[in-house]
Symmetry: C2
Subunit: 231 residues, 2 copies
Amino acid sequence: VDCIGLGIPVHHIEALLPSLLDKLKPSQVVFDVGSTKLSICESIQNHPKRGQFVAAHPLAGTEYSGPSAAFEGLFQNKKNIICQEQLSSPQALEMVLELFDSLGMQTMFMGAADHDKHMAYVSHLSHISAFNLGLTVLDIEEDEKQIFNLAGTGFESTVRLAKSNPHTWAAIFSKNSKYVSEALTSYIGHLQVFKEVLDANDNETAIQLMQRSNEIKRVLDGIKLNRVKLS
Amino acid sequence: VDCIGLGIPVHHIEALLPSLLDKLKPSQVVFDVGSTKLSICESIQNHPKRGQFVAAHPLAGTEYSGPSAAFEGLFQNKKNIICQEQLSSPQALEMVLELFDSLGMQTMFMGAADHDKHMAYVSHLSHISAFNLGLTVLDIEEDEKQIFNLAGTGFESTVRLAKSNPHTWAAIFSKNSKYVSEALTSYIGHLQVFKEVLDANDNETAIQLMQRSNEIKRVLDGIKLNRVKLS
């Protein structure tokens, strides 16, 4: 083969990559598509064949996993991230870029630590939020059997990621523990402040906090606009 | 008019309802569509014209508000809740049921306190979760300008409700403060346990918690199945 792609849980990528690189012929390239990048890059940072590896993270997928979760157009107009591109050989980088280009993806370059920090906030935290929202409402279901008859599309939307694969996500949280813990501390802090404000019946401050959060409109509209521009 | 529907923030419904009932002719009916029910029902529980009022909550809508947020089929195959139906006159109940039936909704009956408790968990908590996820990531954006370039569909899904109207939701949280505070305490507790588990790098427990949360699949599949059955 010319090119090997690793799409397995991140701790397995890290465990497998050094010995896989050992076995590569000079013309062969390996890339990964794991959701964390720093510890994977560190696992082979001094490997003599580091240039034959490209660290990638295509930002595409759903709460479902495995081959049956694939669908046509899954990658179209989505972002791909490549980390430490300066440590990949120009040939390896070109081969992998060509592959992601052909899927209709737009590739961005960034540092591995920056990638992991950003992902902690805009992806990993969303999963933790959904998993724990699921746990909270499943608790109450034990006494209130009919509760889910009342669940609407808002609940569906916020809890959707709670269907994600526990083994995949345990590995991601573990390999990105520093930034995930930081993001989660910040989130819990915001929730505690919000609770104090509600408990004090301080509507004015509650409104101010929600108005600030409304700025997310700008962000989400930006995401959509960008997809349109790409298509 | 034969029938008046109140679709305004819940504290305004509560403030307006007694004087509106005062003015009703014997043949006229008023109903509300507010997201909380207990304090609204209490505001007119001893009113001599209580029978001319129907307390309703159609579970339909998006994160957008106002007339421009309406679309065809918004109510089709969705649930409607009527509380304290035994305190409405048979004529008033029939008139309002006919209206929701004609929109394609399925009406359920339940107590006002039960309604408010259930909604705290399957609707109000989702909004608090999204508002605070928005605040957490907007904080980090101050230092990391490019962070939202990396936001994917998972983030969009969990944060979508953060676009909701702050005045509407401040009123809902305030009028359902007991159950909202209870739900939020439980949610924060789950997040704190999850953080301790991650910080201890206890992958086995993390996986168990996420597997338990995966049960939400059954719930969400049930919601979809029910919509299909209704249609």
